[in-house]
C-alpha cells in the first residue's frame, strides 16, 4: 500500500510557536532571539543534544521539541536560573523542562483550539532519537540568540471533528 501523503501543518500553529519562543525568552531570560526560516525535517534525530519535549492532546495532537546545543542550553539555563548548573543535574533538566513548558503553553493560547499540554520530558545526550507522528511533517524553526543556537521542532496536527 502506498504511504499516505503527509498532512500540511497549519501555518497559524507554527506562527504561535515563533511568537511564544520569542516571548518566553525575552520575558523570563531577558534574551532576544532571532527566528530563521522554518523547514521540514524527515529524520528522527533532534537538531541538537538537549531536548525538552512537550506532548499535546485534544484538538491538537503531537509534540514540540525545544532542541539546544549543549553550551547554549547551559548558558540559557544559567540566565534563566541565575546560577550555573551542571548539565547532568536534576535542576538543569528541570529548568529545560520549564522553559519548554512555557513555550508550548504560550503557543497553545494562540491556536484557537482546545488543546492540553503534558508534563515536559527532557533528554540530554548526542544522538538521541525522538519518535514522531508519521502522517504530519516535523517543522523545524531555527533560532539564534546571543547565547547560542537552538531549534523549535513542531510535529503536531489538528484532529478532525468527530460527528456525535
Amino acid at each position: 500500500m502506498a504511504d499516505e501523503p503527509k498532512k500540511q501543518v497549519n501555518p497559524k500553529l507554527i506562527a504561535a510557536f515563533v511568537s511564544s519562543t520569542q516571548n518566553v525568552l525575552k520575558t523570563m531570560v531577558q534574551i532576544d532571539s532571532k527566528i530563521g526560516k522554518p523547514s521540514q525535517k524527515f529524520d528522527s534525530q533532534p537538531s541538537y543534544d538537549v531536548s525538552g519535549i512537550v506532548g499535546f492532546s485534544g484538538e491538537v495532537v503531537g509534540s514540540v521539541v525545544i532542541s539546544f546545543r549543549e553550551q547554549s542550553a547551559l548558558d540559557i539555563v544559567e540566565a534563566f536560573c541565575g546560577e550555573k548548573l551542571d548539565l547532568h543535574s536534576e535542576d538543569f533538566a528541570d529548568a529545560v523542562g520549564e522553559l519548554s513548558n512555557m513555550i508550548a503553553g504560550n503557543a497553545k493560547k494562540d491556536f484557537g483550539l482546545e488543546a492540553n499540554i503534558g508534563i515536559p520530558s527532557v533528554i540530554i545526550g548526542t544522538g538521541h532519537s525522538i519518535a514522531r507522528l508519521r502522517d504530519v511533517p516535523c517543522v523545524v524553526i531555527p533560532c539564534s540568540s546571543e547565547v547560542g543556537d537552538f531549534a523549535v521542532e513542531v510535529n503536531i496536527k489538528q484532529m478532525s471533528c468527530v460527528p456525535a
Partner: protein
C-alpha cells in the same frame, strides 16, 4: 509581621524564581510543595498561610484540584494561579474553583509582585 507564602509548582526552577521575586518583600517566608498532594500536606503540617501561589499542570494532583480541595474548608486565604494555561475558559474555570487572581507564564517579576499586591489588597492585607 511575617507574611507566609505557600508555593506549589512541580518545577523547582519556578519555585526558586518565585522565592527570588518574593525576597524583595520585607518579612516574607515561604513553604514549598511539588504538587497538589504535597501542597495540601504542607498546609496541614505548617498551619495556615497568608497567600498561595499554585501552578495548574502538576503530577499526582493538579493545581485546579488542589484549589477545589482547599476551598472545601478555607474560603478566605487568597490563591493566585500561576500557569501557562491562558485561554479564557481555563481562567473562568479557575475563578469558579476559587482562585482570587491569575498570572500567566511567562511573567516579569514586577507583574507577579503587582498581582500579589492587588490580591492582598482585595483581601484586606498588605505584603
Amino acid at each position: 509581621m511575617v507574611m507566609k507564602f505557600l508555593l506549589v509548582d512541580d518545577s523547582r526552577t519556578m519555585r526558586n524564581i518565585w522565592k527570588k521575586v518574593l525576597s524583595s518583600l520585607e518579612n516574607s517566608e515561604t513553604v514549598e510543595a511539588g504538587d497538589g498532594v504535597e501542597g495540601l500536606n504542607a498546609i496541614k503540617e505548617n498551619g495556615p498561610v497568608d497567600i498561595m501561589l499554585i501552578d495548574w499542570n502538576m503530577p499526582n494532583m493538579d493545581g485546579l484540584t488542589m484549589v477545589k480541595k482547599v476551598r472545601e474548608t478555607d474560603k478566605a486565604t487568597p490563591i493566585i494561579m500561576v500557569t501557562t494555561e491562558a485561554e479564557k475558559p481555563r481562567i473562568i474555570e479557575a475563578i469558579k474553583a476559587g482562585v482570587n487572581n491569575y498570572v500567566v507564564k511567562p511573567f516579569t517579576p514586577d507583574a507577579l509582585l503587582g498581582k500579589i499586591d492587588e490580591t492582598l489588597k482585595r483581601a484586606g492585607q498588605t505584603a
